[in-house]
């Protein structure tokens, strides 16, 4: 090697307060430079290519009570015999209540995001309790990410609070004050980072319609749709968080997610097997 890896390198401008660089291909580069940004594209390692991520809705599933949750848990227990599952939970009605109180008190979006984490974690503990016989428990958020591969190697699945750790650092939204990155986004970002096989959002609707089916009986069901088409339609309401459109567009490893009705839990096994049983939203070919 002709040059050392570490060098107190004087900048060309030889000023009196030199920067001490570590040699690397990004050394001295502005990470804000578009050309530098482009140069960092490339192959991405998949950490958990066999694992499936499911997000179990808060209000749509947990708050619907035993009649909905118990049949769903039975299906999940069967699925855990065939597949490795990473189960995220939503917060549901309690999160909506704390949002309404927080907004009334004048608290900003970041605080609302911090408060929301507690409700999804409570639902994670409920699901972990129900799946305890399968050896599947709720993992504390502080250690969940770092230890996920270890847990999944040792158990058929794990449960986590699907609220992403944005907390006070949540982005102010374009409209209103509700945190834009909630539990759908938390499940998506996890599945993308860990290179998981699939992402399924378990809700109380069959999938995406061209209008809200609860208000418009003539609403038409959409079995699958590309991100570009979804953007073109500009639907005013969606059965998943709007930010997922941006996240899927920029995804490198995940190329789709499916919305499935958890009130018809047999569809979950079909979705994990790769069948279209709800609405599949997919990334446009690059």
């Amino acid at each position: 090697m002709t040059e050392p890896d570490f060098l107190p390198m004087i900048d060309p401008e030889t000023d009196t307060k030199p920067r001490h660089h570590v040699r690397s291909r990004l050394m001295r580069e502005s990470l804000l430079d578009r050309q530098v940004e482009r140069s960092t594209e490339g192959w991405v390692h998949r950490m958990l290519p066999e694992a499936h991520v499911l997000k179990i809705g808060g209000r749509s599933i947990f708050d619907a009570g035993r009649a909905v949750v118990h049949p769903l848990v039975e299906v999940l227990a069967e699925c855990l015999e065939k597949w490795k599952l990473i189960l995220g939970t939503g917060g549901g009605v309690r999160t909506r209540h704390v949002f309404s109180i927080g907004i009334d008190l004048g608290l900003p979006t970041g605080v609302l995001a911090q408060l929301a984490a507690a409700d999804a974690l409570a639902n994670a503990h409920i699901l972990g309790t129900l799946l305890a016989p399968q050896g599947v428990v709720a993992i504390p958020p502080e250690i969940f990410g770092h230890l996920l591969p270890l847990f999944l190697h040792s158990a058929p699945g794990v449960v986590f609070s699907s609220v992403p750790p944005y907390s006070l650092w949540e982005h102010p939204p374009g409209i209103g004050r509700i945190p834009p990155h909630r539990t759908d986004a938390g499940a998506f970002l996890l599945a993308e980072c860990f290179g998981c096989r699939s992402l399924t959002l378990v809700k109380d609707v069959d999938g995406l319609y061209d209008a809200d089916p609860k208000r418009e009986p003539s609403a038409r069901f959409i079995p699958e749709i590309a991100v570009s088409e979804l953007r073109r339609l500009g639907l005013p309401t969606l059965p998943f968080e709007r930010v997922l459109i941006d996240l899927l567009e920029n995804a490198r490893l995940l190329d789709r997610f499916q919305i499935v009705n958890g009130h018809k839990p047999e569809r979950i096994a079909a979705a994990l097997a790769g069948e279209q049983v709800g609405t599949i939203v997919y990334r446009d070919a690059p």
Binding site: S24, L168, W169, G176
Partner: protein, 276 residues
């Protein structure tokens, strides 16, 4: 309970709408703008100290700035965030080569900005200034009231949940963004970026001698310039457009003694970027 029997009348009208409606419905979201926001820490100034631009220069750059920070204790409340710098670039380079996803690169960047926060912490320790991690932010108001300053690492705590950028793989939300969001959520008095350049130029002044200085510019004007390189992370500019509190930021050259004090005193030193 009968359907429609509102035993939960403690809820506001918005509360009912949130409990019953869809949080992905734009009409409902537009109703959540609610009564005016509180400013959680209206007297605090958030100051981000650059990694590559500042801390990597070592004693010659850092000691005079520490002296200036100490001189401002009791005059201004300061929440000090740290950048990452050259070691993060090394970690990103190694990580990119080995196929690390953006979320893992975010973890690596966090470690470097934490090293820088710890070093500043030891330099300010004799003044009783603590370093706090995100989990300790609940204690921030006490430290600020008692000691007048507190140090945090600038990376937002997104770790594996960091979003991919549209182009490339480097985490798009780094220490400029993390520091900005602290100033935004706390309703702070200012957001000051301490760098090694006088502010924003039409081109990189280190590479182009024809670069022109810009003292004041709006986010939309800045985007219109469509610069190849900008002085703060582009995500900050996007977030400012939706800001609830912090609608301007200031970029100053911390290598010039007195600049930080002037910025804290509200003088228009450096470049001010404001939301439209």
């Amino acid at each position: 309970m009968e359907q429609g029997d509102r035993v939960d009348d403690l809820l506001t009208e918005l509360g009912h709408a949130l409990v019953e409606g869809s949080l992905n419905d734009e009409e409902l979201l537009s109703r959540t703008d609610g009564p005016s926001l509180i400013h959680i820490l209206p007297d605090a100034n958030v100051i981000k100290i650059g990694g590559q631009s500042f801390i990597d220069r070592g004693r010659a750059a850092v000691f005079p700035l520490i002296e200036e920070i100490v001189a401002n204790l009791g005059r201004h409340e300061m929440i000090l965030g740290t950048g990452a710098g050259t070691r993060a670039r090394h970690a990103y380079s190694v990580g990119l080569d080995l196929g690390m996803p953006t979320g893992v690169l975010s973890v690596l960047g966090t470690f470097v900005s934490m090293q820088n926060a710890r070093m500043l912490n030891y330099l300010l320790a004799k003044h009783g200034i603590p370093f706090i991690e995100p989990a300790q932010f609940a204690q921030l108001p006490l430290y600020l009231a008692e000691r007048g300053a507190v140090i945090f690492f600038g990376m937002p705590p997104y770790i594996y949940w960091q979003q991919n950028p549209a182009v490339g793989r480097i985490p798009p939300h780094r220490t400029d963004t993390g520091s900005y969001l602290v100033s935004e959520v706390l309703g702070a008095r200012s957001m000051i970026y301490v760098k090694d350049v006088d502010g924003l130029y039409t081109a990189d002044p280190k590479k182009d001698s024809g670069a022109r200085f810009i003292p004041r510019i709006s986010v939309s004007e800045l985007k219109e310039l469509d610069l190849q390189d900008v002085v703060v992370e582009r995500a900050v500019l996007d977030l400012m457009a939706n800001a609830q509190h912090r609608r301007s930021i200031q970029v100053i050259n911390g290598l010039v003694p007195g600049n930080l004090t002037r910025a804290l005193d509200g003088e228009p030193v450096g470049t001010i970027i404001f939301a439209d």
